[in-house]
């Protein structure tokens, strides 16, 4: 069964088309990568999935329920929040600077579950443990945490409502190499333990190779290639995908110039 069905999505700002005729599905437990450079429209797709942007045309359904544009009740918004959650690139700007890490999780729990304060606290600490944080971190403010720890808080916050889909928008891009590997492993653990699907937005093909089952490559708002991640990276069919792959530094790699523009 598909947890996400996006059909012919389109988003136009003024006379600029950010997303054009983008369709894809995400199966239960699947990890789909959306690959592209800046301006490719990959983040706009993510924001439309979350309801942060209204598609100009096209339809989205999450967990089998269509999400038509327009205002919805608070109850419906909560229901939608329990279906899909997001982790942003920079947890420093997406977390409240004045809210302690533990309260971030508890606020989310209080909104969605009828728990006593003691139960809530217990559940928040369990979530902390599942993302590799300790009890002492719960009392800290975002600025007292390192970048990797902040991203763990953002992941715990997203997982708190037990969503079916987690959208990760460049969620490991700003992290140090050694921390990035830890978070990628954490995400792999989470997917193994829960029935959760990922939509992993990234420009980093090596990271995409490690985290996703399927991938779509976007350019100028359109899908240029799609397929099984492994095949797509081994035998890209499109010139653009090949150019992206060729630009990744590796042993023996030499940087190259395109034509002057």
């Amino acid at each position: 069964m598909s947890v996400i069905e996006a059909e012919r999505l389109r988003k136009v700002y003024g006379d600029a088309t950010a997303v054009d005729e983008v369709s894809f599905t995400v199966a239960e437990g699947e990890s789909l990568a959306i690959v592209g450079e800046s301006g490719s429209g990959k983040t706009t797709v993510a924001r439309m999935l979350l309801g942060l942007e209204t598609p100009t045309a096209g339809t989205i359904s999450v967990c089998g329920r269509p999400r038509p544009p327009g205002r919805v009740s608070a109850g419906e918004r909560r229901r939608r929040a329990r279906e899909i959650q997001i982790v942003f690139q920079d947890p420093y700007s997406s977390l409240d600077r004045l809210q302690r890490a533990g309260d971030v999780i508890e606020t989310s729990l209080a909104l969605h579950f009828p728990l006593t304060p003691a139960e809530r606290r217990k559940k928040a600490l369990d979530l902390f443990e599942s993302v590799g944080l300790a009890e002492r971190h719960a009392a800290m403010l975002p600025r007292q945490l390192s970048g990797g720890q902040r991203q763990r808080v953002a992941i715990a916050r997203a997982l708190a409502v037990e969503p079916r889909v987690l959208v990760l928008d460049e969620a490991v891009a700003a992290l140090d190499v050694s921390i990035q590997a830890q978070i990628l492993n954490l995400l792999a653990d989470i997917r193994e333990q829960r029935s959760i699907s990922y939509v992993f937005i990234s420009h980093d093909l090596a990271v995409v190779n490690q985290i996703s089952d399927t991938a779509i490559v976007m350019r100028h708002g359109r899908v240029v290639e799609r397929g099984n991640t492994r095949d797509l990276l081994r035998e890209p069919q499109e010139d653009y995908t090949r150019a992206l792959l060729a630009a990744v530094p590796r042993p023996g790699w030499k940087p190259t110039r395109r034509n002057a523009q």
């Binding site: 450079e37 301006g39 590997a181 190779n209 060729a246 630009a247 030499k254 523009q261």
Partner: protein, 309 residues
Amino acid sequence: MSLLTLEGFGLAVPYGRGRRTLVEQVDLTIGRGEAVGLVGESGSGKSMTARAVIGLTPPGARVTGRIVFDGAEVPSGRALRRLRAERIAMIFQDPRAHINPVRSVGDFLTEAMIHNLGTPVRQASARAVRLLKEVGIGDGERRLRQYPHELSGGLLQRVMIASVLAVEPDLVLADEPTTALDVTSQSEVMAILDELRRERGMAMLLITHDLELAAATCDRLAVMYAGRIVEDIDGEPRHPYTRGLMRSRPSLEEAVHRLPVIPGRPVAAFEAGEGCAFGPRCDLAEPRCRETRPPFVRGVACLRAEETA
């Protein structure tokens, strides 16, 4: 003779009533026309080291050791300004944060030529167009009239490089010049830098967190951890930190069940204890590693480097 030499360079910044060490005991040399990569994670002190070369140290910082450029210690005041204007240029990670948003690209590129070299305005503009062409921007006349917000990050970084070329410096300090760019722009910007370096005999110090990028574009690499250089890479990496970094990076060729990770997080110099700063994260650490800082011997600061090689 080397162009730039750092000898026992260290830097500490005021913190509360005391000081915090950010960089210590860094020895580094760059020859004329040579490209050296300085690789490290956040807090390793790599940017602080590069910035100190042109006197961009944080307020109240205490600098120890010597920085020698072309036979003389890096000066201060007016002489330092001359050095920055004529011989050492810097390219920053985020071009948008280092360009005046209310001045046109043309103003930015010609200002130094007009004020420092006394070039007539018309000639300066013509030269700016030629420089833009060299960095792969064809329609220079139009670009000169544009403002920074009208250009993409990749284009703006090329404008930055063009401004560096206007000076024809002996040394370019490139601080994560491609981190904010897309991979295809990164490839292009690095190719431009590489080409210009070879053609003009410019030396480059490339500051980056990306080992693969540095390895592909530099003649030599130094790896920093907690404010110190832990390894000068010559062939296969030998320091457990460098090896761990290379292993933990996901690969394009194969996906693994779990990445081999380095536990813990990178630390800054002032957070490191008595022994090896990497010791607490190292799976090869022995009791002796906790006692003293490992000396830098034959290109690596690790007591167990000989065994693991």
